[in-house]
């Protein structure tokens, strides 16, 4: 069964099978046609030759005297004819030769005139009829043929008995008219011959047809097998082996092109070649892209660390100072962001505080943020009020702002000994202020235009007096504009509520409260804006003296 299934799935076996089946059908058709036409031709030949024999025999019989013979007259002539026919019968190798007169009323009876038997010819056991022996016509076929000869002037009639089932061998009986001197049929002369030659000749003929068909089939299959193997099976196997090898090893193999002169196969081979090349190129591109992505990811994480390190991020930032407490957080929405906060001591008595938000996000914003922070820090360390510092920063940024980006900045300088805060707001969010013991509220300070937007903008300053226990909270729009799934924004109301939840807490705790409130509000909805907060608690000038090593 396994072998059979194997053969069925083999293309070569199927094609060979089909060829063999076709040849068998072809052989059968040829055999049948050959058999039939051969038999016909043979019969024709027999018919004609037997007719000629019979026709010749009639010349021995005097048609005018048949009735006289039956009456017992013309005995001498009858005997002479008898002896001629006897010789004829033996010499011509016929089984029977006989002359009859048929009853022409219905051709149902006849009477024998001459009758000669040669049983040796066909191994028969006939007995010769006597003169005047009467018989019934044996069947309708004979009756019609008798009638045709008597009435329609038929030159001869033939009856074939092929494969008789009465124990006789196949034979042919030919009837010809025995004519009297006026040309009419006076009687009928019949000759019976065996036709065994038909079979004798037919058998080798059939045998040769079968044999040649078989031989042809064999040759065709051998040719088909060889042809298929060389031109079809081998190329296809090579293609399929190559495809399997490629799938296994993933390397370029030998070129299959030119594997076959036939375009179906060479096309397939070319497709496999192209597929290999394309796949390899694709894999290479893919690994290049993956490597590139990894490189960018690595660079970004490094950039992220550099950016984080560019702002103060170690807390407590000034463990030795008791006159203020400060805390800040910066959470970029992506690896790097455009927000920043900064704080540093300009001198022993002046603390600079800054928060900024660059328009846009990601790498461009982060570069802009770094530049801005550096310019701002350097200029602030040189001294002066926030207004003039922002004027300078704006000028510098505008001079090199090819991307038309801008940054909002809130800058404050706190005189620690007195609590006097000088600040300037360049388009940044309103600060939130808490007076000691009170609650946070927005401080609607005077706003000027963003930094980097337009040259020549004047940044005005304002002053604010902080008392011990006062707190100032500054933030970027990532806080109020944190957005929930239903697109509602966190807003300053919720921000103030979060701050006032425990308004007396330290800055670090306050920032955590706001962060927690924002997270609870957005419920995991992805945020697209950076989120930055900075909070300072002013504890008052006297607190500073706690520093034991400090010299005033």
């Amino acid at each position: 069964m396994d072998r059979l299934r194997k053969l069925r799935s083999s293309m070569a076996a199927n094609i060979i099978g089909a060829i063999l089946a076709l040849l068998a059908i072809f052989g059968l058709i040829v055999s049948v046609f050959g058999f039939v036409s051969f038999t016909d031709a043979f019969k024709n030949e027999y018919t004609v030759s037997t007719y000629h024999m019979a026709d010749t025999a009639t010349t021995l019989v005097n048609g005018d005297h048949l009735d006289a013979y039956l009456r017992g007259e013309e005995t001498e002539e009858y005997e002479r004819t008898r002896s001629y026919l006897d010789i004829y019968c033996k010499r011509m190798n016929v089984s029977i030769i006989y002359v009859i007169e048929v009853d022409r009323s219905d051709y149902g009876r006849f009477v024998s005139v001459f009758n000669h038997v040669n049983n040796a010819v066909d191994d028969t056991s006939y007995t010769a009829w006597e003169l005047g022996h009467e018989r019934e016509t044996t069947n309708d076929e004979y009756r019609q043929k008798y009638q045709a000869i008597y009435e329609q002037g038929s030159p001869y009639e033939t009856v074939y008995r092929i494969r008789t089932n009465d124990g006789l061998h196949s034979h042919i009986t030919t009837m010809v008219p025995v004519k009297n001197s006026s040309g009419d049929a006076a009687g009928i002369l019949c000759i019976q011959r065996p036709v065994r030659e038909i079979y004798d000749a037919r058998r080798p003929y059939l045998r040769s047809i079968v044999f040649s068909t078989l031989l042809l089939s064999l040759l065709a299959s051998v040719f088909a097998v060889g042809y298929l193997r060389v031109h079809l099976v081998t190329p296809i196997r090579r293609v399929s082996d190559e495809a399997a090898r490629f799938a296994r090893e993933g390397t370029k193999g030998e070129d299959l092109e030119g594997i076959s002169p036939y375009k179906e196969l060479s096309g397939l081979a070319a497709s496999i070649d192209k597929m290999e090349t394309d796949t390899l190129r694709y894999m290479e591109n893919l690994s290049t892209a993956a490597a590139e992505k990894e490189r960018i990811g690595f660079e970004l994480s490094l950039a992220s660390r550099i950016q984080a390190a560019s702002i103060p991020s170690e807390f407590p930032a000034f463990p030795e100072r008791k006159d203020f407490d400060i805390y800040g957080v910066m959470d970029p929405a992506r690896d790097v962001g455009g927000d920043f906060y900064n704080f540093f001591l300009v001198d022993d008595d002046h603390l600079a505080l800054a928060i900024g938000d660059v328009s846009g996000k990601g790498i461009p914003a982060s570069l802009f943020m770094m530049v801005t922070n550096i310019i701002l820090t350097d200029r602030t360390r040189m001294g002066g009020g926030p207004g003039e510092i922002l004027d300078y920063v704006n000028r510098e940024i505008c001079a090199h702002n090819s991307a038309e980006m801008f940054v909002t900045i809130w800058l404050g300088i706190l005189e620690l000994s007195t609590g006097r805060l000088t600040a300037s707001n360049a388009g940044h969010e309103y600060p939130a202020l808490m007076r000691a013991g009170g609650a946070f509220a927005l401080y609607k300070d005077k706003h000027a235009f963003v930094i980097g937007g337009m040259e020549g903008v004047r940044y005005r300053e304002y002053e604010l007096k902080l008392s011990p226990g006062d707190k100032l909270f500054v933030y970027t729009d990532g806080v109020p504009e944190a957005t929930a799934a239903d697109e509602t924004m966190f807003g300053t109301e919720r921000m103030l509520a979060a701050l006032n939840e425990d308004a007396q807490a330290a800055p670090e705790r306050l920032l955590r409260n706001v962060r927690r409130a924002v997270d609870g509000f957005v419920q995991g909805t992805e945020q697209f804006d950076d989120l930055t907060m900075l909070c300072i608690e002013y504890r008052g000038g006297s607190a500073r003296t706690d520093e034991p090593t400090r010299e005033e």
């Binding site: 980006m405 388009g427 940044h428 309103y430 963003v450 937007g453 903008v457 697109e487 697209f528």
Partner: protein, 99 residues
């Protein structure tokens, strides 16, 4: 989501914005403006349907304002309270013509 409906006729362009002008939608407005502002001497933004504007949106407005400073004038009409507040906070009120 931001819907931008623009009509440009005889050097006068009107941009009617509906929705949110933020980081994700600002680039679409920037592209529309870049295609339309040539030969325009009067640019009008109708913000009646604008719910929110972020700094990315402000940047596009600033760029448009700078372009229009060279070739004509630009004004903003029907700005809602939230948008107006953003303009105030960022100081954009000082440089934009808000009617």
């Amino acid at each position: 989501m931001l819907n931008i409906i623009k009509t440009v006729e005889n050097g006068k362009a009107v941009f009617t914005l509906e929705g949110r002008l933020d980081t994700t939608t600002a680039s679409a407005l920037e592209k529309e403006l870049a295609e339309s502002l040539e030969g325009v001497s009067e640019l009008c933004f109708d913000f009646a349907g604008l719910d929110y504007i972020s700094s990315a949106g402000l940047r596009v407005l600033l760029a448009a304002q700078k372009t229009m400073n060279r070739q004509g004038e630009m004004k903003i009409v029907h700005a809602g309270e939230i948008v107006r507040e953003v303009f105030d906070v960022t100081g954009f009120s000082d440089i934009l013509t808000i009617v």
